[in-house]
């Protein structure tokens, strides 16, 4: 199952990943991280398709994406 | 007039307008950008010219053009930007044009930092560009003084047809103090009949710094130097503070640094150490005679600067080698605190017995920080 990992202390809460996710599964936490930002987190991990779009738009390299099944990578990035 | 609380940068801009300088060219740089931003709004209100140029290099050459066309014109920048203006400043001085340049100095060299410094003293006073020329350099120590000197700068520029620099450190640009805008006090000025305003009804005017004939070029240099001699006679400004026969030490400092010295002097008074302050307001012409007189009764001098030691060379030159002259300063955006100045004075007073009088040889003390010291 694909999954993303958000490094919450790198996140600056810009919400760009949020907007980029085709599954609309990223939301902002209600807590502040060490830098004082409401960081991104995945709402429904199971719906992640590992498309990487969230990671691609993240300006702070706060997202890593893992896949653990045979999967077509749709976009060649 | 009622006082208003204004940032130094903005107050300088307003003062220029009050002095009738309605033409401003600039390029943004910290810590003077507020001046540009203030004038971006103000100039249209007063029907003046505001133009952000593509670079300091271009701006400095726009100044030449505009000044040559007979108007009051100015710019502001900070250290690296001022370095880019050196060729043009040399041209402007050579062609004898009145312009005002505000340098809100930051720490260098190179990109350095953006915090206040006084490390452009050499560049400003000795001529950072090529050739024999000088800027008239004014160093305010408060926002009010920045206002008054800015107004005066335009008058002096016109009077001598020479570039004038307002040299404030970042602090002068950034802090807010109450200011009053008194109407500018100006003497009579001759008409700018040399300006290139169209040759209608007169012979053409030519403004140039080229003199291919060396005899003519030397003659032009003599004209410049005759003006500098006039400035030395008439324009020297300085302040003496707490100077007396009882002074153990005479501090020499300008701009923000001088204010800090005043606070230090108050503290030293409490410690029963009498210390005076000599504050050059014109850095060129440097108050040579006046400093010499002020130094007369005092055993030793310290040039206190936000630099690695630049004005100290002028202090040494002027005072001569009979009296120990030392340097104390911080740089790179660090401003010496009154406490540090107090400590340095205490150290010096403890260090030296009665000040030696004859032929001092330069001697390094193991002083902390950047202090260098010369004594008998």
């Amino acid at each position: 199952m694909p999954q993303i990992r958000v490094d919450k202390d790198r996140c600056k809460g810009c919400e760009l990943c949020n907007a980029a996710c085709p599954q609309q599964i990223i939301a902002m936490s209600k807590e502040l991280n060490v830098k004082g930002y409401f960081y991104a987190r995945v709402d429904q991990p199971s719906r992640c398709i590992g498309c990487r779009l969230c990671a691609i738009v993240c300006p702070d390299v706060a997202i890593e994406v893992d896949i653990n099944a045979v999967q077509y990578i749709l976009v060649d990035y | 007039m009622a006082k208003t609380l204004m940032k130094g940068n903005e107050a300088i801009g307003e003062a220029a307008i009050r002095a009738g300088a309605l033409n401003y060219f600039c390029y943004p740089i910290t810590p003077q950008t507020e001046l540009a931003e203030y004038l971006a709004k103000r100039m249209p209100e007063v029907g003046g010219v505001f133009l952000q140029g593509e670079s300091e290099l271009a701006v400095s050459n726009m100044l030449f053009g505009a000044a040559g066309a007979g108007v009051r014109v100015f710019t502001s920048s900070s250290s690296p930007g001022i370095s880019l203006m050196q060729e043009a400043l040399s041209y402007i001085a050579g062609a004898q044009l009145p312009v005002v340049v505000v340098n809100i100095v930051r720490g260098g060299p190179g990109l350095g930092g953006i915090l206040p410094a006084q490390s452009d003293y050499f560049q400003a006073t000795k001529g950072g560009g090529h050739g024999d020329y000088r800027l008239l350099v004014l160093a305010p120590a408060s926002v009010q003084e920045a206002v008054d000197l800015t107004m005066k700068a335009f008058y002096l520029a016109d009077k001598y047809r020479n570039p004038v620099m307002i040299m404030g450190d970042g602090m002068i640009g950034q802090m807010m103090e109450p200011v009053e805008f008194n109407p500018p006090q100006e003497g009579d000025l001759p008409p700018k009949d040399w300006a290139t305003t169209g040759a209608k009804g007169r012979k053409r005017n030519q403004i140039h710094s080229l003199f291919l004939d060396p005899v003519a070029l030397e003659a032009n240099n003599r004209v410049l130097y005759a003006k500098y001699e006039e400035m030395k006679k008439h324009e020297v400004l300085f302040e003496r503070y707490n100077c007396s026969r009882h002074n153990k030490v005479l501090l020499v400092a300008y701009g923000t640094m001088a204010r800090i010295c005043k606070t230090a002097i108050a503290e030293l008074k409490r410690l029963k150490i009498s210390v005076g302050l000599f504050r050059p307001i014109t850095l060129f012409p440097f108050p040579e005679k006046e400093l010499r007189t002020a130094a007369e009764p005092v055993g030793r001098l310290v040039s206190v600067e936000m630099s690695m030691g630049q004005m100290v060379e002028d202090v040494e030159r002027v005072v001569g080698r009979e009296k120990p002259v030392s340097f104390f300063g911080r740089c790179g955006g660090i401003v010496p605190s009154p406490e540090e100045v107090v400590a340095e004075v205490k150290r010096l007073v403890a260090d030296s017995g009665p000040p030696a009088q004859k032929k001092p040889a330069r001697k390094k003390t193991g002083a902390k920080k950047t202090a260098k010291s010369r004594k008998g």
Partner: protein, 254 residues
């Protein structure tokens, strides 16, 4: 492309240092940094690459890369890069420059470097404003855009039209690779990275000067949220700054 089981398909590139940037939230400087780093990884050239930092918000870029870096004077990065590349043609050299840096004060240096066909790559980050100094007008600022030095909106009668740098450089005769891309959404970011890769590839082939103009956001000085800022790129910048390849010499290898 089919991939096998269990692997990380997106992570920080090796060429990027772990340090968290000083950029404002949502500023796409970060995306562009990562893109360059990814390309250095993919081409395997990180350890023979020298970057040249501009003066602008990205002045500290050298903290964020693992490769060697020089920090240039404002606008002069192309002259720095020329100096490096001429004396060490074996190195991979790139400049990273903002629009104030490249189009305003650095106009002469970029044009002449491009015209000499210097074999380095320029990543030109166009955010239509001076970010670092707090939002002054740039030559790229759009018509009527409000900035701190165009407080009533950029008056093009007074300051001219925004400079289209890619088009301008493409008017030179010397061959070059020039493309304009954007980072305002994932789709465009993907294309943008391809352009960056292509630019470096041209350098490695010793073909020509290469420049990728990247439309970027400055939420802070535009006074918009990061998301609004990406929208602003789409609605206002792209119509004036069309995307695409403006110039490219015949290619031997993609």
């Amino acid at each position: 492309m089919a991939s096998t089981l269990d692997r990380t398909v997106f992570r920080k590139p090796e060429s990027l240092a772990p340090k968290i940037t000083h950029y404002c939230p949502g500023c796409t400087h970060g995306v562009i940094h990562r893109m360059v780093a990814e390309v250095l990884d993919e081409l395997g050239v990180m350890d023979r690459t020298v970057g040249v930092a501009p003066v602008g918000c990205s002045v500290l870029i050298y903290h964020y890369f693992e490769c060697d870096f020089q920090e240039a004077a404002h606008g002069r990065a192309p002259a720095f890069a020329t100096g490096i590349k001429r004396v060490r043609p074996d190195l991979v050299v790139f400049t990273y420059q903002g629009d104030g840096d490249l189009c305003s004060i650095g106009m002469s240096e970029i044009i002449h470097a491009a015209n000499r066909g210097e074999k380095f790559t320029t990543i030109f980050v166009n955010n239509a404003i001076y970010g670092m100094t707090g939002g002054q007008m740039a030559p790229t600022t759009l018509a009527n855009q409000v900035t701190s030095t165009s407080p009533f909106g950029r008056d093009t009668d007074h300051t001219g039209m925004p400079i289209r740098m890619s088009e301008l450089l493409s008017a030179l005769v010397t061959p070059a690779y020039i493309e304009r891309v954007s980072t305002h959404d994932a789709r465009h970011t993907i294309k943008a990275k391809k352009a960056v890769r292509r630019a470096f590839q041209h350098q490695l082939n010793n073909d020509c000067f290469s420049m990728v103009e990247v439309l970027s956001t400055c939420p802070t000085n535009w006074g918009l949220t990061p998301l609004e800022a990406t929208k602003w790129v789409e609605d206002n910048m792209i119509p004036y700054y069309p995307l695409g390849v403006f110039k490219e010499p015949p290619v031997e290898e993609g």
